[in-house]
Every structure is written in C-alpha cells, then in structure tokens.
C-alpha cells in the first residue's frame, strides 16, 4: 500500500497493511510535525504532493528495498494538506520473517522518500512562511 491521503494516519493501519502469514517482525517509522524548527516556533505545516508520481516513486523505492532485504510487505502513507503539530505526516511499515530485515529496510524507505518523493512541506512560523528545502528557505 502506497498512498497520499488528506486525513489522519496511524501506525496501526500501516502495520496491519503489512501483516501476512510468516511475518515475524514489523518495523515502522512515523514522521511527526514538530512545534519548533531551527529555533523558530512553528505555527502550522502544510504538505503538498504530486500524488501519482509520489506513489510511483514509492513503489520504485520499495522494489529496490526488496532487492536488498528479505522483505514481506511494505506500506507507506503520506499525509497532505494541513497537518496539526504533533501529528503524523508520514507512516512507513515493513514486515519480514526475521528482524534483521525489517528495520534497515524501513530506514532505507524513509531516507529515499526524503530524497525523491515529490512532496513539499510549507512551514508557517511567527513572522513568515517558507517552503522547506527551497532556496527561499536559505534566506531565513
């Protein structure tokens, strides 16, 4: 399951999505919106995605992960729109028969997602707003 959704997401739903016979380990990663970033107080966060390409890229990353580790199933949900502070913006789950596979594959998924998934975060802070990662962001 790879999806971009405009609603609250939970770890239990991604972990249920990777359950199947023979699974002995499930690793998950949740990105949570922080109330402070680089010393400034964050007021709210909004995410925007290119959903069709985001899903295609996540499937591609998962294919690479399957080549590196003995993985059963992988699920990724990324939330878009406004994400209230302290809530989950992304949830990843990876299942495997043995624990040596699920955790590093989960790490790989979040690292690659951050590099290639066409998803953008806009931060609203006291006194301004900025698209994180853009050159405009460097000015602050």
């Amino acid at each position: 399951m790879f999806d971009v959704v405009d609603r609250k997401i939970t770890l239990d739903e991604v972990s249920e999505a990777v359950a199947e016979s023979g699974v002995g380990a499930i690793a998950t990663f949740a990105g949570v919106t922080r109330d402070t970033n680089r010393g400034r107080r964050v007021l709210k966060l909004e995410y925007e995605a290119y959903p069709e390409m985001a899903v295609a890229q996540l499937e591609k990353i998962a294919e690479i992960a399957r080549g590196k580790w003995e993985v059963k199933k992988i699920a990724v949900l990324h939330r878009i729109g406004e994400v209230p502070l302290g809530e989950t913006s992304v949830a990843i789950a990876v299942s495997s028969a043995h624990r040596a596979d699920a955790l590093p594959a989960c790490q790989f998924m979040i690292d690659e997602l951050k590099h290639v998934a066409p998803i953008w975060k806009k931060e609203y802070f006291e006194g301004g707003e900025v698209w994180i990662g853009s050159l405009a962001d460097c000015a602050h």
Binding site: G31, Y47, E48, A49, Y50, E52, M53, A54, A56, Q57, H78, S89, V90, I110, L113, K114, H115, V116, A117, P118, I119, W120, K121, K122, W131, I132, G133, S134, L135, A136, C138, A139
Partner: protein
C-alpha cells in the same frame, strides 16, 4: 507540440498556476523547456537551477526529448517525510 505542465510548491506559488498547456517546437528537449522556465521565474530566489523535471512521473535530465502530450512536472527541492 503541446505538453501538459504541472507546477508544485514554491514554483506553483510564484507562477500563480498549478498546471498549463505549454507549446514547444517539435524536437524540443527538457533543457529547452527549462530555459523558458528560468526566464519566467526571473531573478527571484526560487532557484530555477535547483528544480528537477519529471516527464510522465519519472525524473529525467535536460537532454530528454519531449513528445506530444507528455506530462511534464517541475519539481522544486522536495521536503516530504
């Protein structure tokens, strides 16, 4: 030829548009498209040089030849997660 162009994030905001149909000469490459984009984004600090381009949902480089009806997406630095 005509391609459909999608803009996201800071580029979408600066251009004030999320998608448009773009007219290019036959045989144009992604690089040709990028030249026009840089002119439009001008001197503001969006950093047109740092955007990537995807065609039909795959990242491509500037030598990639465009075709009629391609879905061309302008991808500013991503910050998902």
């Amino acid at each position: 030829m005509k391609v459909r162009v999608l803009y996201f994030g800071i580029v979408r905001e600066r251009l004030g548009v999320g998608s448009e149909v773009y007219e290019l000469e036959d045989g144009a490459t992604v690089g040709d498209f990028q030249c026009g984009l840089t002119v439009r984004l001008g001197n503001d600090n969006v950093g047109a040089g740092t955007v990537r381009v995807a065609v039909n949902r795959e990242y491509v480089d500037s030598s990639y030849p465009l075709s009629e009806n391609d879905e061309v997406a302008v991808i500013p630095p991503v910050s998902g997660g």
